[in-house]
Amino acid sequence: MNVFEFTLLVAMGAFVAGLLGSLTGLGGGVVLVPLLTIFFKVDIRYAIGASLVSVIATSSGAAAYYVKEGFSNIRIGMFLEIATTLGALGGAFLAAFVSTRALAITFGVMLLYSAYLSRKPRTQEERNLPPDKLATQLRMNGSFPSEEGIRNYNVQHVPAGFGLMFGAGALSGLLGIGSGAVKVLAMDQAMKIPFKVSTTTSNFMIGVTAAASAGVYLNRGYIDPGLSMPVMLGVLAGSMLGVHILMKAETRILRLVFSLVLVLLGGQMIYQGISGKI
């Protein structure tokens, strides 16, 4: 394959990944790395570097859309970003010492876990919780417009959320993904923040987390311009289109298909990691 064909094919693959990622809300990064390593035979470290760059592009590009929704809480986001950026730095440093086989297996497990999370029914939201002392001191409690009018929420379990966010950051830095699923889990399940506020705040945080590890990857020489270029442009175009058709699309079946793809790719990554093909 020459550079022209490679660039075109990777851009097309990245476009589809970005489109599906934004339509299903699962993010494109999580399918990009297996796509590049399994089908294009790219070394996993180059693939992770390229994926990180595309994560920044989609998260920043979608910001305008999420701001219009007006649910995100910048105080919660900024406080938790201390944990995610520290975790991301740690993950990125760790990536240099972990073998590519271990990276592939970890990635596979993460894919299976994302598929599981996307199929799990959401637990009922607990409302009217009493204010938590630490969350009140940190001025995290907020309100957002819902169908029944303005709804107030009280944030809970700040230390647990902070710890989970550190883990989300480390995964992001190690695997080159946005790890939005883990971020939403930390806010929605641990901190009892309403789902809509969690998802929009998470989207705001993803770009900053990815930037923290992208710096380390760039300095290490893991970000290759020839590979990152079609990946970034393709994912960006795909996710922009995805955000625009999001309103009209029936995403339930799409989510099912996408989680099946995640399971298949996850199994493949684990198999290749164990058999030493990566």
Binding site: M1, N2, V3, F4, E5, F6, T7, F40, K41, V42, D43, R45, Y46, V53, I56, A57, S60, G61, A63, A64, Y66, V67, G70, S72, I74, M78, F79, E81, I82, T85, A88, L89, A92, F93, R139, G207, V208, A210, A211, A212, S213, A214, G215, V216, L218, N219, R220, G221, Y222, I223, D224, P225, G226, L227, S228, M229, P230, M232, L233, L236
Partner: protein, 130 residues
């Protein structure tokens, strides 16, 4: 006071969204320009990423990338665009410090400052940046 804080928060988020969009647009344009040059120049050479070699030092840090882009090397221009992209969330965090300063929110100025230091360390301090 609560409504004032809500209003400035909202306004801040709108400015932040514009900032992010502008950053992505600029970097996508620079990457695209480099991409055209790259495909024209190297389109027929073989593409192989099977073996990890790591990038040469002039594509790893700010000074090298700027130097390479100024000489109109296609890979340098693409890397400059990617660097703009990585800098976009950093600019967003820096802007938020100013926003919290307007609200006289010293606690969150400190939190945001910590995030900014971590980001700058990753971008400039984690390798041989200069």
């Amino acid at each position: 006071m609560a409504w004032l804080q809500n209003w400035t928060d909202r306004r801040m988020e709108e400015i932040v969204a514009d900032l992010l969009r502008a950053g992505v647009a600029v970097s996508a344009l620079v990457v695209f320009a480099g991409a055209c040059l790259y495909v024209v120049r190297y389109g027929h050479s073989p593409a192989d990423y099977r073996v990890f070699q790591g990038e040469p030092s002039d594509l790893r840090n700010l000074r090298g990338i700027v130097h390479s882009a100024r000489q109109l090397r296609s890979r340098g221009i693409i890397q400059l665009g990617l660097l703009c992209l990585i800098a976009t969330p950093v600019a967003r965090v820096a802007f938020s410090i100013w926003g919290f300063a307007l609200e006289h929110d010293r606690l969150y100025m400190i939190f945001t400052g910590i995030v900014l230091v971590i980001l700058l360390y990753s971008l400039l301090g984690s390798g041989s940046a200069f």
